[in-house]
Amino acid sequence: MKAADFDYVRAQSVAEACRLLDGAAGDGKIIAGGQTLVPLLAMRLARPALVVDIAGIADIQGIADETQSLAIGAATRQADALADPALARRLPLLAKGLRMVGHPQTRNRGTIGGSLANADPAAEIGLVARTLDAELVLRSSKGERVVPIAEFFLGAMTTVLSTEECLTRVRFPVWRDTGRIGTGFEEMSLRRSDFALVAASCQLALDTDRVCRRLALAIGGAEPAPRRFDAAEARLVGTRLEPGDLAAASRAVEAALDPITDAHASADYRRRVAGVLAVRAIEMARDEALGPRV
């Protein structure tokens, strides 16, 4: 499985990367970690004329604490993100999701931005980004635009990124709510570390009476792109997240979900599992919020 021929350039800056993409007239691809692009090239499912390597560009690496949010450079390695103490403190949900991404070897090369740009419906990073309403910064020779995550994924493996654009930064809002914040991430994959058939991601805040004041719940893997579940969220805010509340939320997720069928699982299976994983993710988040402060 040898890739078809291509030209390769290691870009020294984002501006250069964008210029190179312009020059490729739609036939250029960005490579950062390569963990999803290289297999596509090896299987000749992708045959770009030009591959632009952005992995070495310093200003799209690293994690900046912007108080209201954490800004992660798109070329930040997943392993580095996972090891970052600020991320562990401020984005525990992303830390949970990252632990499920691939294997140590793929995390050593794969990047935060690469996973988002690849837009696999089952990817953990995209699911967490959707849960937290992340914002993505896209750059081209024409300038910069900020796209909310809700508008970024168009479908399986498809995003709003044009062939001349480069994802440079992802901003994850950090909840600054009073009260206790908890996070939960549950996934069903065929083997540990495979892409999820279904995954559920939850972040919530409880007040001092243990009443839920804020809750974000998203499901990934079941549909062409990860999605939030407003009805379930609305049902849970203002409650103490007791079994009856969770069961109702689960039903709301199952009712709203429009799952895909593929060789590994049917739509019915995904719907059934989504309902249960949503409950487990919410429980995990609730228990974490109730538990002793770290």
Partner: protein
């Protein structure tokens, strides 16, 4: 034979061959690089069934660096068709599809170029004109008269169909108190080694010799390759010193080798084909059993199984491969470890438009064991009997050995009850039951699986004449030679390749045991096929028995020669001297002795001191026929299959997530008896690996096709091999009932673990489903399958 009586055998010992592997110095076929070597890539059919109207390679050939594009027509003209092993002379098979493509991924053309990348570039440019035909994908549909016929020249899709009746089946069924029937489905999986198949061939016209290096595990490989290439056997030299990266049965690669041998001669350059993973999964023809068992059991109200009727329908795929004969080997253990009075066995092998099968570890015994153990558990359930008590009542007793089963095989030795007890004790069965019951009380689905399974070993492939009476083959041999050089250094020569079984360690340990010399000082090499003694290669768990036996035989001859030389030097008869660790001493006056080095010197240099009539030098060889082999089947199909029967009892705990359907396994324990273990680490290692492979077959692995014959499992993202996360810790508890048939009491055990794990895991899952009143007799038991089963029951129940 107690294991404590040995000097080197049965002791912990590092494997000799491992030193080069941990250093990264193994020599695998992809490491073989010859000057001027060319590379092959394949053009594969995208259709499950199609007439090939034409192949246009003009554009491909014009690419710089491309040497040739060959097709099935070229191969059909220049090579002999590959044999099917059945009496089906119209079935001709060549390395490339000829006239028709019969499965998605079948190799239709081969491109040869200066590099693999260029060959792939050119392969994309080959234009094939296909006329798609209606495929047949379901094996039960394939038997029907209206089904598309995969090989029209054969007339139907039935490659083989025969029903044997051994013993009074009808009478036993009529007299039985009760009976039950079930269907068990073993979906397609295989061994899928991490290294794909590869072969290098180099033709030297000056010496008229074809050199071949291959990642191969196949009996008669050099012979069949030479025959297909229309070369005399002594014009093909297969180098067996290539390290093989796992095989477990499937690396026969004959079509790859014929293709590459043909290309090397035609192009006058060395040629290498190493399958990439895509080529391997769909076009490498190494898929495995795909079987529907319909079983009827007749039993008493006390649970004694009297008779079994077994119908096994196997979906071969598009060519015979080893699939039909893979229905035959289980005849040698058709009733498992149980005392069953009569058996009816109908074996049906059908073609469909899918990838062919190769020989998979156990050669059909694991699916058969899965079907048998499922049946046993169902009987227990029907009678409200404890599954263990039912097994105890039916297991052949230790005092009944040697025991002959209805189909004619004699089990050499065993103590199944002892192994079962050891396994239950080792697993702390009572505690597992408590754990299961507590889990159930907490609302979980939890179960324990117990499986008692046989591992026939020794490789007497009597299924060949059984399935094709025109093939009167009864020789299944292995050779070994040993020499001692002028200065006393020992070299053992074995005559086949190895794929991780530790044969160098095996042979040196055996030789060392007989000669009482440290195995560390003994070098083991492999002859090439021109210099080799006959071998049947490491199949059928045979090498501990056969290489062990041949090495022992050669070592004993050598020891007798050493004693004779020493005695003669001391002026005594061989009966008047003692031999210890290579030194010959006069009994009664041990100060008078001849050293090992002294013996070697006499043998090589001092002819005047050699006993009269003895050949100079110090070497011996032994070629061993398989114990109990040498007989053809009787008219009613009774035959001794493999000689030695190892036995395993698995005890495994499982919990099922009732919504996701995921199965969590562990603890896992195997009670194992393969007689004397020549190297315990090697045996245990294969058992752990076999269990892991069995976990894959039971829960994760399946070659999937959709209803149009499109192949869905072509990469490792779809065909799921268990990683370290999916395999729990496995404990092995050993027992030893030596075989009376072998040099040291050893039985084979290369297939250990795999032969019992799918059965045990299926039993555990079924035990977990008992409170829901559900059952499943199908592998793999994927999460979706179990989740859907439970959800459907909730709806209707």
């Amino acid at each position: 034979m107690a294991e404590t009586q040995f000097r080197y055998i049965a002791k912990k010992r590092r494997a000799k061959e491992h030193r080069r592997f941990v250093a990264g110095s193994g020599r695998f076929v992809a490491d073989v690089a010859l000057p001027g070597m060319l590379h092959v890539a394949l053009v594969a059919s995208p259709y499950p069934f199609a007439r090939i109207r034409g192949i246009d390679a003009k554009v491909a050939l014009a690419l710089p660096g491309v040497s040739a594009v060959v097709t099935g027509a070229d191969l059909a003209a220049a090579t002999e068709a590959m044999m099917s092993g059945l009496d089906a002379p119209k079935l001709k098979r060549y390395p490339l599809a000829h006239g028709m493509a019969r499965y998605v991924g079948e190799w239709v053309a081969a491109v040869v170029a200066e590099s693999r990348a260029l060959a792939e570039d050119a392969a994309e440019l080959v234009e094939v004109d296909y006329e798609p035909l209606e495929p047949v994908v379901d094996p039960e549909a394939a038997i029907r008269p209206d089904a598309p016929v995969v090989h029209p020249e054969h007339g139907s899709n039935v490659l083989f169909r025969h029903k044997w009746t051994w013993g009074p089946v009808a009478a036993d069924f009529a007299a039985a108190d009760d009976r039950l029937s079930l269907r068990a489905r073993w979906h397609r999986s295989s061994t899928v080694p991490i290294e794909t198949f590869g072969v290098v061939a180099d033709w030297n016209p000056a010496s008229q010799l074809l050199d071949v290096w291959a990642s191969v595990q196949m009996p008669k490989y050099p012979d069949q390759l030479a025959r297909a290439l229309r070369l005399p056997g002594n014009a093909v030299r297969v180098h067996f010193d290539v390290d093989v990266g796992g095989s477990y049965g499937v690396k026969r690669g004959l079509k790859h080798s014929i293709l590459v041998g043909y290309l090397a001669r035609r192009l006058g350059a060395p040629v290498r084909l190493v399958e990439d993973r895509l080529e391997n999964m769909r076009g490498g023809d190494a898929q495995g059993p795909d079987r529907i068992f319909d079983i009827e059991a007749a039993f008493t109200k006390d649970g004694i199984v009297r008779s079994l009727k077994i119908r096994a329908l196997d979906d071969c795929g598009a060519h015979a491969g080893r699939a039909p004969l893979q229905l035959g080997k289980p005849v040698g253990a058709i009733c498992g470890p149980y005392r069953v009075n009569s058996v009816e066995y109908e074996a049906i092998s059908v073609t469909t438009n899918k990838t062919p099968q190769e020989a998979v570890r156990g050669f059909g015994q694991s699916p058969t064991n899965f079907a048998l153990e499922t049946t046993i558990d169902r009987i227990a359930q029907r009678l409200g009997m404890d599954r263990i008590a039912l097994r105890r009542a039916n297991l052949i007793r230790a005092e009944e050995f040697p025991y002959t089963i209805p189909s004619g095989s004699t089990y050499d030795s065993g103590d199944y009850h002892a192994v079962l007890e050891k396994a239950l004790t080792g697993a702390d069965y009572a505690a597992l039951v408590k754990r299961r019951d507590a889990a159930r009380a907490a609302g979980k689905l939890a179960g324990i699986g117990i499986a008692c399974c046989l591992e026939p070993s020794g490789g007497n492939s009597a299924f060949e004449p059984l399935f094709n009476p025109k093939n009167e083959t009864t020789t299944w041999m292995e050779g070994c030679s040993i020499k001692v050089d002028l200065y006393g250094a020992v070299v053992v020569t074995m005559n086949t390749s190895s794929s991780g079984q530790g044969h160098e360690t095996l042979a040196s340990t055996v030789a060392g045991e007989i000669l009482e010399r440290d195995p560390e000082t003994i070098r083991v090499v492999r002859a090439d096929s021109l210099g080799a003694l006959p071998s049947n290669s490491p199949v059928g768990s045979r090498m501990a028995i056969m290489l062990g036996g041949a090495a022992a035989g050669a070592a004993k001859k050598l020891k007798a020669a050493i004693i004779a030389i020493g005695a003669h030097k001391l002026g005594a008869t061989p009966e008047e001297v003692d031999y210890a660790e290579g030194v010959v001493r006069l009994r009664g006056d041990p100060a008078r002795q001849v050293s090992w080095e002294g013996i070697a010197e006499i043998a090589h240099r001092k002819f005047h001191e050699l006993p009269p009539g003895m050949e100079p030098g110090l070497q011996a060889q032994h070629v061993l026929e398989v114990p109990t082999g040498g007989a053809l089947p009787t008219a009613d199909g009774r035959v001794q299959m493999y000689p030695c029967y190892a036995f395993e009892t698995h005890v495994v705990y499982a919990e099922i997530d009732r919504i996701t359907g995921q199965v969590a396994l562990g603890p896992y324990l195997v009670g194992h008896d393969c007689g004397v273990m020549i190297n315990p680490d090697i045996v245990h290692g294969m058992t752990y690996g076999g269990v892991a492979h069995g976990i894959g077959a039971a829960l994760y692995e399946r070659f999937r096709y959709d209803e149009t014959g499109q192949f869905l499992s072509g990469t490792f993202m779809d065909y799921l091999l268990p990683s370290a996360h999916e395999v729990p810790d496995i404990k092995v508890v050993d027992h030893c009932t030596p075989s009376p048939l072998t040099a040291f009491g050893q039985k084979g055990s290369g297939e250990a673990g795999y032969l019992g794990a799918p059965a045990a895991i299926s039993c555990a899952v079924n035990d977990a489903l008992v409170p829901l009143g559900l059952a499943v007799a199908e592998v793999p038991m994927t999460p979706a399958l179990l989740s859907d089963l439970i959800a459907r029951a909730k709806k209707t129940g």
